[in-house]
């Protein structure tokens, strides 16, 4: 194996490890963060960079040929559309009347969601309990 081949293999390994790291950060953020706005934040940034690293590794492995152009186009498309989709989702949440969670707030994201007939029965007792404790400063 020549030196160029070894360098390419090392670069592919580093790019794949970086993509796994950033996608893991994105997955933990989407599962653990408190409300839709912070989840949209981590989905738009960490996940885009993870996908970009993985597609760069694919393009590097394919070398100079016609299918590499498809991979680069896919990378550019994901870099454009993934933050746009997350922005559209966050804006739809704002137009739907979902309040952002703040650090001095004891309520969970389930309590901050507007009343919906399908899940109102699950969130109603928790919100009443919080409001009686006076968690909302005047």
């Amino acid at each position: 194996m020549s030196a160029v081949e070894t360098a390419r293999l090392v670069a592919i390994g580093v790019l794949l490890a970086g993509s796994l790291l950033f996608t893991l950060v994105s997955a933990v953020g989407v599962i653990r963060l408190p409300d839709i706005y912070s989840r949209a934040h981590t989905a738009s940034q960490a996940d885009t960079l993870g996908a970009g690293f993985a597609l760069a590794a694919v393009a590097l492995s394919l070398g100079v040929q016609a299918t590499t152009a498809k991979t680069v186009l896919l990378l550019l498309f994901i870099f454009l559309t993934n933050p746009t989709a997350a922005h559209a989702i966050a804006r739809a949440a704002d137009e739907d009347g979902i309040e952002p969670w703040t650090s001095d707030d004891d309520r969970t994201a389930r309590d901050l969601a507007p009343d919906r007939s399908d899940d109102a029965d699950a969130s109603e007792p928790a919100r009443d309990g919080v409001d009686e404790e006076g968690g909302e400063p005047a």
Partner: protein
Amino acid sequence: MSVGTGDLATDLFLGTAALFVVLAVAMLYRAVDGPTMQDRVLAVNVLGTNTVVILALLAVGLGESSFLDVALIYALLNFLMSVAISKFTVERGGII
């Protein structure tokens, strides 16, 4: 274990694709549990991005370059799905 040419790069791509599948399945928790509808759409959007990456990794790992075409179409449909659901669940519209 290795399918295609059998070198180290093939194993790297297939192993990374397997770990990406685990991270994509973890998104299903937010898609099922998410208290608001937008949480579910966001989780499905992230799952779709992970699917595009898995398809691209499998295109190299299995030596099937036609998977890249599938990944390109999937990325287009994924973006369209997110914007369309965001737009049509709000009465006033004007999302972007």
